[in-house]
Amino acid sequence: MLSLYAENLLLTVGVFIILAWACYLPLLGGQLFNGPIYCAALAGYFAAYTTKTLGWPVPLGFFGGIAFAGLVSYGLAFFLAPLTMFQMSVVTIALIFIFQTTFRNLEFLGGVTGMSGIPSLDHLLPITLLAVLVFLVLLSRLYKSRWGRALEAVEVDREVSAAMGVDVNKMSQVLQTVSGAMGGLAGVIYAFNLGTIHPDVFGFGQLLYCFTIVFVGGRFTPYGPLLMAPVLWLIPEFFPSAIAEFRNIFFGAIIIVSLLTMPKGVITKRVVARVENRLKGLAGRRA
């Protein structure tokens, strides 16, 4: 039986892994899509409002939140898909602010107070761990698959890829929808874990934090965010309280040192290939 604290740690790390993966996925296709952040907020508020105010069953609110975020992302994708990387980044950053301000000014969603007293969801931790596992399997297969190579081609040169028959817009729409739904999942887990959702939680600061996880961890494989999310969350958590005032300085220094020594991230494709070869070698020896 896990302690409340341990369970919360795992859930929080799970939220950040999923959110970081949601930001990582569109990057594979050369898109700087910041939608997971506002999708997390949308899903969190949806789940909070439907379960707390409307009295929906909690599982319905949970899945409804994810679906809602995915739908919004899908709808917006029709407009966002043809945009360049720079355009998409700018537009989705703008949307983060617009959604945040909207939530802060909607009284029925709690306004500046946000919503608390959100009912809890049973088995939230196993659901989260299962989701992380499923995404890990899917993402680790994706980047080596034909789809993954197509994404990489689009990232390298969008026009050439389109000329060679890759439906770039459709690919972008799919990426954004999935990414938005993943962001939504992170949002509902957050809301049901803490029992609270607030306009300030999923904002520009959260975006920067996710970027840090992805780029310091390594944006070329899903293993980078998987490793870095718990590391970046847990370092401050276990920092000695006697020197707590140096915590952020230490944290910043770690990021700087990581990027200086491993500019492409801690886990690159080369690292993954090396590990895989080693594992194959070990398996071969055993056989």
Binding site: L32, L83, T84, F86, Q87, V90, V91, I93, A94, L95, F97, I98, Q100, T101, T102, R104, N105, F204, L208, F211, T212, F215, V216, E245, N248, I249, F251, G252, A253, I255, I256, L259, L260, P263, K264
Partner: protein, 293 residues
């Protein structure tokens, strides 16, 4: 009508400062491939340096010089951290690196400087010591200094880039780094010069903040950087002209929204305007695909 003119005046003043911030950040982007997310923190830390220098010496001149030197030194100190990432053209990674630098600088201010409490500058300094009031319209000496300094610096920068050897070298590096290398332009010196120029601009920006705002808090740095990013995105990443246009546009939007609409929506509306500009003009108002000014 009076109020409208007052809002316009305020928008021009704050727009001038935003333009300077945008120019400084764009200069680093276009010459050195760096998105300097600690720009705002450097500006604010320089304000703190000015405050401490004034407390220690009682001299405004020395305090101002301290601010400019502090900003320049801090900007130059960041350069080696970014060198490896720049050379590999890892643009987003430079953003993350400078986020980390910004975090450290913010914490230095929040934990160690003035016990983390906000600072205020002498009342006779803020506003520049002179003003003329016409009903709701008030023009201060500081407003004039801000606009003059911003315009002067922009013109000075343009002259430097167009007329001096070093400036031409910087433009060459920004335009085509390989060609610049082949032509024997020292890239390292060029980059350091760009950082120095950006540092000087951030130092001057800190002085303009002192004259107009008169206060500083540790979290102000984040706001300043955010404005700079908004200006860059509106005007065009890497475009110096765009930074000027974006800066003034942002300043005017903010003041008019505060004047006529709900203040809490300022950021959202500014972001919305930015979004519309980018959709209509994909590289920003004056940006180009190669992102140089």
């Amino acid at each position: 009508m009076e109020a409208f003119i007052a809002y316009l005046e305020a928008g021009i003043v704050s727009g001038s400062i935003y333009a300077l911030i945008g120019i400084g950040m764009n200069l680093l982007l276009v010459v050195s491939n760096v998105v300097q997310f600690a720009y705002g923190e450097i500006v604010v830390l320089s304000m703190y340096a000015c405050w401490f220098a004034h407390k220690a010496s009682g001299s405004f001149s020395l305090a101002f010089l301290t601010a400019v030197v502090c900003a320049s030194l801090l900007t130059l100190l960041v350069e080696p951290l970014l060198r490896g990432l720049r050379e590999r053209k890892l643009l987003t990674e430079t953003l993350v690196m400078t986020i980390a630098v910004g975090l450290i600088l913010t914490d230095l201010m929040a934990v160690f400087l003035n016990s983390g409490l906000p600072i205020a500058f002498p009342g006779n300094l803020v506003g520049g010591g002179w003003d003329a009031t016409f009903g709701l319209i008030r023009i201060t000496a500081a407003d004039i200094y801000v606009v003059a300094a911003s315009v002067g610096l922009m013109m000075g920068l343009v002259w430097f880039l167009l007329k001096t050897r070093s400036g031409k070298a910087l433009r060459a590096i920004a335009h085509n780094i390989q060609a610049a290398r082949l032509l024997g332009i020292p890239l390292g010196k060029g980059t350091v010069l760009a950082f120095l120029l950006a540092g000087l601009m951030s130092g001057v920006t800190s002085l303009l903040f002192i004259l107009t705002m008169g206060v500083a808090t540790p979290e102000l740095g984040e706001h300043v950087t955010f404005k700079g990013m908004a200006v860059m995105m509106m005007g065009g990443m890497g475009s110096l002209k765009g930074a000027v246009a974006g800066g003034f546009l942002l300043g005017l939007i903010e003041c008019l929204v505060r004047g006529y609409f709900i203040g809490d929506w300022v950021d959202a509306i500014a972001m919305g305007a930015m979004m519309i500009i980018i959709i209509v003009k994909p590289d920003g108002m004056f940006g180009t695909a190669r992102a140089h000014g």
